[in-house]
C-alpha cells in the first residue's frame, strides 16, 4: 500500500514512533532509524488491517519494549566503545609522555651526537675528512683534531700518522685505529 493511502492512525503512529526513536543513540538512529520506522509502519499497517485498533495497541506495547531494549543496549555499547576509546587514548598518551620523558632524561653520554653527525678536520686540515660518509677511512696525523659539529672535539693522540676508520650508525660516531 503506498504511504499516501495509509490510514491516518498508521501515519500518526509512525510519526510518534519516530519521536520515540530519539531515545536511541544518535549514531544508531542515523544509521537505522529510518529503516526501523519503515518496518514499524509496515507492521502498523498489517496489524491495523488485521485487528484494527486493538491490534495496533498490542503492537505499540511490543514496540515500546523493543525500542527501550534497543536504546539501552546501544547506549551500553556506545559507553563501552567510548571507554575503550578513552583507554586507547590514555595508553597512547602514556606512550608519548613516557617516550618524551625518556628522551629528555637520557644522559648526553649515551647519545652525544646529533642525528646526522658531521665531522670536519680542524687545525691541520685533512680535506678528505670533511664531510665524511658512513664507514669511511681517513688518515690523520698526530695532534690533529677532529670536531664533531655541535658537540665536542676529539684529539688524535696516536704517535705519527695512522689510519682511522670513521664509522657511524647514523647516531653515533666512532674513530677506530685502522690497519
Amino acid at each position: 500500500m503506498p504511504s499516501s493511502e495509509l490510514p491516518r492512525i498508521v501515519t500518526i503512529s509512525t510519526h510518534i514512533y519516530n519521536c520515540v526513536l530519539w531515545i536511541c543513540p544518535r549514531r544508531y538512529r542515523r544509521e537505522y532509524g529510518a529503516l526501523m520506522a519503515q518496518a514499524f509502519r509496515d507492521l502498523c499497517s498489517n496489524a491495523y488491517g488485521q485487528n484494527g485498533a486493538r491490534g495496533l495497541g498490542r503492537l505499540w506495547i511490543r514496540a515500546l519494549l523493543d525500542v527501550g531494549a534497543t536504546a539501552a543496549g546501544e547506549h551500553m555499547a556506545s559507553l563501552k566503545a567510548g571507554r575503550a576509546l578513552q583507554m586507547a587514548g590514555a595508553a597512547l598518551l602514556a606512550v608519548l609522555v613516557g617516550g618524551t620523558a625518556l628522551l629528555v632524561s637520557r644522559p648526553p653520554e649515551t647519545n652525544p651526537f646529533p642525528a646526522t653527525p658531521q665531522v670536519e678536520a680542524r687545525g691541520q686540515q685533512t680535506p678528505s675528512l670533511a664531510p665524511y660518509d658512513a664507514s669511511s677511512t681517513h688518515t690523520l696525523t698526530t695532534g690533529e683534531r677532529v670536531q664533531i659539529i655541535g658537540n665536542r672535539w676529539i684529539e688524535v693522540e696516536q704517535k705519527g700518522a695512522a689510519r682511522f676508520e670513521v664509522q657511524t650508525d647514523g647516531r653515533f660516531v666512532s674513530l677506530r685505529l685502522g690497519g
Partner: protein
Amino acid sequence: MNHARAEFGDMLPLTPAVFQILLVLAGGERHGYAIMKEVEANTGGQMQLGPGTLYRSIKRMLADGLIEESDERPDPALDDERRRYYRLTALGRRVGTAEAERLAGLVRLAQAKRLLHGPAPIPSTGGV
C-alpha cells in the same frame, strides 16, 4: 562441533534472533520487514522480532561479516518505496551450518537421554 568452535571462535552459539535471520536469508535476499514476517511464520508466531531487535541483530551481523547489504529497491508486493535488502555471505552460510550442527548435536543428546523420543522431526519448508 569442536572444529566449528575452533573455526568460528566466540560466534557460537548464535542468539535465536541471529540464527532465525540467517535461516531466512539462506532462502535468498530479503529486506527488513520481509525478514520479520518470515521469522514469525517460521516459528509459528512464537518469535516476533521488533524493528529494534531486528536492526540491532543486522548491525552485529554486518559487523561480523555474516550478511551484507545488496541494494535498495522497491518490493513490488508491498509498495513502490525503496527498501534495503540483505543477503548471506559465505561466512554467514558456514556459521549458520555450524550452528545448525551444534543444535542437531543437542537434539541427539536429548534423544540419548530420553528427553526427546524418536528422530528429530523435519520441519516443513512450506514447499511441495
